[in-house]
């Protein structure tokens, strides 16, 4: 035992020594643009996180392989594993920001919230594509945060609009019951103010079914409540293991699946497949293309997946979440390209990136050039509106795959925008003194 103790002692010492050696940070390569990706392939939300992470990383790697980067400068891509954990997220941020990070994609509302105040201080923009703080759409208050193409409030308004259409007009919503099942965290709670406002406006009743993060896989109570309350529609804001469980439970209580609509984060194939054929009819919003019929995706397959440069399973390509990750990287890449054009520099900084993102204009033509025609709705960021309230579509699970069933639906901008502005003002007031915008508008 004595020797083992010595071993333990020396292990402790060795670890200490090894660690002190690690602290010297790797110097930033001068001729590349550094993009850290905060991803999670572990932890309770890995099921959703892996596909997103693959999509994001693969597209950027493909640009390196195919085009040698962007504007002739290679991208240095580094993944940092957060496990959807706020502590690790901040640690990843601190560890990577010194290397000249251009932009952060936290993929967690919690981590996004922590990075928002830091963004303006460290001069590195945060891109929270379709998640995070809705109010961040107000560019005047949040010059460093981008949540293009849509906020959750846009999404919530689209759902209500769609349900209204199904009922033959929004006036018919009066007296209807709409159930809202959500992950009981900042993420799931965000849409509630808007839904409540719409409930008042159109006279429907909003029923809330929170799912605690720990109980994601144990939702029988929530769905029993649904069964008792018999809502006409169910709307879901779920993530990770919550989605498949909810869909299974819905099947179990024989809820009419065609009246069950999820947000774009509840749109994974794995999620719906959990309910099997009985889940056919389940709908989810989406703003990125489904399937592999895009030249850019074929390029990803050809340049990086088939050559074994990335660990992606070819089967999973073209899925909703994978493509979502790709879209995220398309926005990053276009932001970098725009920034390069605006500044004339090849190697850009976080501040340049911010200008690039604020001038982002992903037109139909540009999408076609990228080999992604029809992959997403054209999107444009303005200094005033960092989300843009872009249209989204609804896809339906046919038992085997998702099929697009509606055309692009415009969010209710008139309802969403005032709420966003009020929320931004509220945020600034609660976090007083919140810095006023000093960054000039690049366009």
């Amino acid at each position: 035992m004595k020797h083992v103790k010595n071993l333990a002692l020396s292990t402790a010492v060795a670890l200490g020594v090894a660690f002190s050696g690690v602290l010297s940070e790797a110097a930033k390569a001068e001729d590349s643009n550094y993009v850290p990706l905060l991803t999670y392939r572990t932890g309770p939300f890995a099921g959703s996180g892996i596909h997103i992470a693959n999509g994001m990383a693969d597209y950027l790697h493909m640009l390196n392989e195919r085009d040698g980067g962007i504007g002739g400068v290679r991208l240095e891509i580094e993944e940092c594993e957060t496990g959807y954990n706020a502590q690790k997220g901040v640690e990843c941020y601190e560890a990577t920001k010194g290397k000249g990070a251009l932009v952060y994609n936290p993929y967690s509302t919690g981590i996004t919230l922590q990075l928002i105040p830091k963004a303006s201080v460290d001069k590195i923009p945060v891109l929270s594509m379709g998640y995070g703080l809705s109010a961040a759409a107000v560019g005047e208050t949040f010059p460093w945060v981008f949540n293009v193409p849509d906020t959750y409030w846009d999404g919530a308004s689209v759902v209500i609009k769609y349900i209204g259409e199904q009922e033959g007009g929004r006036e018919n919503l009066k007296g209807k019951k709409i159930g809202y099942i959500f992950l009981d965290a900042g993420y799931g709670r965000e849409p509630i103010p808007l839904l409540e406002q719409l409930a008042e406006k159109y006279g429907f009743e909003l029923l809330q079914y929170p799912v605690p993060g720990k109980e994601m896989q144990n939702q029988s109570s929530q769905w029993l409540n649904v069964r008792r309350d018999r809502p006409d529609y169910m709307v879901m804001w779920g993530w990770g293991a919550m989605n498949p469980t909810a869909i299974k439970e819905a099947v179990k209580i024989r809820f009419p699946m065609d009246k069950f609509i999820g947000v774009w984060w509840s749109a994974g194939e794995d999620d719906a497949a959990a309910g099997g054929a009985a889940a056919a009819g389940y709908k989810a919003m989406n703003f990125s293309g489904v399937g592999m019929d895009f030249p850019a995706l074929q390029d990803i397959k050809k340049y990086v997946v088939d050559t074994g440069k990335v660990p992606t399973d070819p089967e999973s390509m073209g899925g909703t979440l994978y493509n979502r990750g790709v879209l995220n990287s398309v926005i990053i890449a276009e932001g970098i390209r725009t920034a390069q054009e605006l500044t004339g520099k090849k190697v850009i900084t976080g501040a340049d990136m911010r200008m690039g993102l604020e001038s982002l204009d992903l037109t139909e033509e540009r999408l076609a050039e990228l080999g992604l025609s029809g992959f997403a709705h054209p999107m444009k960021v303005t200094c005033d509106d960092h989300a843009g309230s872009h249209p989204v579509f609804i896809q339906e699970w046919d038992g085997e795959k998702f099929v697009k069933v509606t055309d692009w639906i415009e969010p209710m901008r008139d309802v969403v925008r005032p709420l966003l502005e009020a929320a931004a003002a509220d945020y600034a007031e609660k976090n007083a003194p919140w810095p006023a915008r000093t960054e000039p508008c690049p366009n």
Partner: protein
């Protein structure tokens, strides 16, 4: 040889009861404080301060808090995370209600709220002991976590459901909020941690500390010696929760900047418990060693492969980290269940007799 106390005589009980009766220890502590207050601020970069030292100190303080309860008073608690959360939310509410009051003062004040809640959840400890008590502290953990989500007043009705830390200054230096430099935050965290550590060391060597240890070592005998078990245990719960509450408030105010309820989940409770056990139950120094091990090891593991030029995916590193941390925990428990504090003693013993084996 190097660590020899022979020839140091005490001529008064005062000297004998000092915190560091042996000269080498006193010098050692002096050197550590010198490094902490002078050398590190002068040499360390922002990453080291913000991602290593600040979390390390916050966790050390939390580990001291739990150590008071578990290590000194023998009451096993799995609700540390929630008690830290109470401190954080209390401090957040206090800064909203009293925006002009010094933020460090409010952070220290917030601990009292945690102490109060901790004492309430300590009540069952009179009837429930050991592992059963540990499981009941989970009731505190889950109930409080639920409160953090369900009582919007606690987070000022923020749409995000999280608390976000405003900018606050002290002596003209920004100490909280995003603009605060790691250095400023480091000094605040370091000062609070060191101050509380010294104060609690005083309590532990006096009557109250002894009464906790009496309850820990043999509660029946303690009661027969005139110790009131409920009062003593509740006091331990309150003091422990106070310290944890301050640590929790520091965690969000001077480290994370924003916190969701999930920041104070059961995972955090386990993290702190690991630090206490590995550091050594009933050892204040051990709390620091344990915190260093549990916080710094995963960070180090994350960077070691890159530093020695091995390319492995971020998720593989994470998996390996889990495996290594888990395995090392078991390894250290097997080798030395009394933690690093005991290993340190053994090391001192070796230095004392060096170069002879005994």
């Amino acid at each position: 040889m190097f660590y020899r106390e022979a020839g140091q005589y005490k001529t008064s009980y005062e000297a004998d009861q000092a915190l560091f009766p042996i000269r080498q220890d006193l010098v050692g502590i002096g050197v550590i404080l010198l490094v902490a207050f002078v050398v590190i601020p002068l040499t360390a970069n922002d990453f080291f301060l913000a991602s290593i030292m600040i979390p390390f100190l916050v966790f050390s303080l939390a580990a001291i808090g739990l150590n008071v309860l578990t290590g000194f008073c023998g009451q096993l608690s799995l609700g540390t995370g929630a008690f830290m959360g109470v401190g954080a939310y209390a401090a957040y509410k206090l800064t909203t209600i009293f925006p002009d009051v010094n933020v460090v003062f409010l952070v220290l004040l917030s601990g009292f709220f945690a102490a109060f809640i901790g004492a309430i959840f300590g009540l069952p400890s009179l009837r429930i002991k050991g592992l059963y008590l540990a499981v009941t502290t989970l009731a505190a953990q889950f109930f409080l976590e639920w409160c953090f989500i369900r009582i919007p007043w606690l987070y000022n009705y923020n749409a995000s459901g999280a608390i976000e830390i405003p900018k606050r200054e002290m002596f003209g230096v920004v100490v909280s909020g995003a603009e605060a430099t790691p250095l400023a935050r480091y000094f605040v965290v370091l000062s609070i941690t060191v101050a509380i550590a010294f104060l609690i060391a005083n309590v532990l060597r006096g009557r109250i500390g002894r009464s906790w240890m009496m309850i820990r070592d043999m509660d029946i005998a303690a009661e027969l010696m005139g110790i009131r078990p409920l009062q003593t245990k509740l006091m331990a719960f309150a003091v422990s929760s106070y310290i944890c509450g301050v640590a929790g408030a520091m965690m969000v105010f001077f480290w994370l900047n924003a916190a969701e309820p999930s920041s104070y989940s059961i995972t955090l409770s386990f993290q702190i418990l690991f630090m206490v056990i590995l550091g050594g139950l009933g050892s204040l120094g051990g709390a620091f060693l344990g915190a260093a091990f549990i916080w710094i090891l995963p960070v180090a593991l994350k960077f070691i492969p890159g530093a020695i030029g091995i390319e492995i995916g971020a998720e593989t590193v994470e998996h390996l980290t889990f495996m290594v941390v888990g395995a090392l925990i078991i390894f250290f428990l097997i080798v030395e269940p009394h933690g690093f504090a005991r290993l340190w003693q053994i090391a001192k013993q070796k230095l004392r007799v060096w170069p002879f084996p005994y």
